[in-house]
Amino acid sequence: MSISTQEPQPPRTSRAREVDGATPGTPDAAPARSTARRRRGPSVPLTPKLVVGLAIVAVTVLFAVVGPFFVADPSRVDDIGLTPPSAEHLLGTTQTGQDVFAQLAYASRGSLIIGLVVGVIALVLSGFFGVVGAYAGGFVDESFSLFSNVMLVIPGLPLVIIISSYVPNKSVWLVAVVLAVTSWAGSARVLRGYTLSVRSRDYVLAARVAGEPPSRVLLVEILPNLVPLLASQAMFAVIFAILGEAGLSFLGLGATGSFTWGTMLYYAQNGLALRLGAWWWFVPPGLMIALFGAALALINFSIDEIINPRLRSQTRRARKRWHLDRPAPVAAGTTDTPTEATA
């Protein structure tokens, strides 16, 4: 299955004759095929990459949404510090006897919320400044593009450090907004470039000629082309946000009183978990970050293959198949394909 929109041989159940003047036998298209396929829109190829990525994301999201309802209070201090995993504490306890599994559940929720909020804000900002600017053209495009370029070079980390030194009690939202504001510009540029190319396509011009109002041209004719790109850019924004938040929290600059994967690592680091060999404390959040990031990256690769079908056939497996299809050379020198210089 592929999503390519160019079918080399359109299925035809009936023959529309070239009536006017042409000789009746002139072929208009490939011969009629009896199978008429009816597809609602492009279908997405379910590659192993995509399935694995989606599965990991689904499990993580489920854990983050449902997990906190079933675990004990993650901040409850106990006098059983640093116990290894057991039946009672699935992932052991921290130095102060807090349940790591409970913390992990809340931390997943916290990290995913940050990722989601940043993803949505970055999507809206990059869509507005990239797509609308490119579509409007002229002065609007120039100024939007200049603004994006300025935002692109504002470094996120120093900005957050400055903000955190001014604001003593940072909420999760503040961190999310700062991360979003510093992360949308790159994708706005990508979206602008693609919108510029879609904008000048004939079917967009044809819609304008037909009299479609500009807003409808943008929403109905242009936007469907941008959906895969928007999805992939949003995915990147989520990865960036989760990693960025983890980095900030690890440096102790995160939101106050929040649970995220980054804060868990920060407390593990402060509690000398590594030196004390308490792997159950720092491995789970680290693993979650790595797995979730990898899963989003996998989904992103699949989306890239949808956008650019040329990437799809470039896998090693596909290339091996081509070699199998090619008839084996009988003897060197008699084959018509020139043999590469191997000596």
Partner: protein
């Protein structure tokens, strides 16, 4: 009926080349009139400005100087004036593979212009008009074609859809920018004959842009020859082709195969 007139139109593009701006005059003081019931061919080499004229007529570009008059009157800038203009002047694009949106059904492509230009039609009326348009361009069974997407049609069928879309607002003037150049030779004549028949039935004024002198002569009343942005020769089709005066037309004539033979090849 309405006439469409270009009066002394100039279109310049600014090519930005580093700091220096350079100007390219794509259309150079061009004037002509399209009348109902007459087909005018516009021939010329690649890059001579033919598509630019089509874009100017469709108001996808605005002229640097000069005027475009519909029915003797300049066109207003307001949205309703634009819409009124577009219900009179329509266009068939060159590339049937690029001019239909792969995300939408054929019905969408036809229903939108119908609905836009006939705001008082009910959904059912719009649909029956869509089916009627499909019949007019000989895409039968209409119901089935309406539900398809562009990639499920052949090039010739797509171009018929594009023609149907251009006819949807019931225009008086049709601009066809190389409507068959992207199609297989064997089906070109079918599409051209369809255009010719619709032109007669609706009494359309057609601007037929082409490279092909043979079809230009066969399908048009008048021919205009364009060279580097200006029209160097014009007149009744046979006159221009049989007794070319401008030297560019002569080379064009010499370079193209014998029109009669070429037409026989197409058929």
């Amino acid at each position: 009926m309405t006439t469409l007139e270009m009066q002394d139109v100039v279109k310049e593009y600014h090519l930005r080349d580093g700091w220096r701006g350079e100007r390219l005059r794509a259309v150079d003081h061009v004037s002509f009139t399209l009348e109902p019931g007459r087909t005018t061919a516009l021939v010329g080499q690649s890059g001579s400005g033919k598509s630019t004229i089509a874009k100017l007529l469709m108001r996808l570009e605005s002229p640097t100087s000069g005027r475009i008059l519909l029915g003797g009157r300049p066109v207003g800038r307001s949205r309703s004036a634009q819409r009124a203009y577009r219900s009179q002047v329509q266009m068939v694009f060159q590339d049937p593979f690029g001019s239909l949106n792969p995300h939408h059904t054929i019905e969408h492509h036809l229903a939108r212009p119908v609905a836009l230009h006939h705001p008082r039609m009910s959904a059912a009326q719009v649909r029956s008009r869509v089916l009627e348009l499909l019949t007019r361009v000989r895409l039968d069974p209409t119901e089935e074609f309406a539900a398809r997407r562009p990639h499920e049609l052949s090039g010739g069928q797509r171009q018929r859809v594009a023609i149907a879309r251009a006819l949807a607002p019931e225009p008086g003037i049709l601009v066809a920018d190389e409507p068959v150049s992207m199609l297989d030779v064997s089906i070109r004549l079918g599409v051209l004959n369809l255009l010719g028949r619709l032109q007669r039935e609706e009494n359309l004024g057609v601007l037929y842009i082409t490279h092909d002198l043979a079809t230009a002569r066969h399908f048009s009343d008048d021919i205009m020859v364009m060279y580097r942005g200006s029209i160097v020769e014009r007149g009744p089709a046979d006159d221009v082709l049989l007794h070319p005066r401008h030297e560019y037309t002569q080379t064009l004539r010499a370079a193209s195969p014998d029109p009669e033979r070429r037409l026989a090849e197409l058929a």
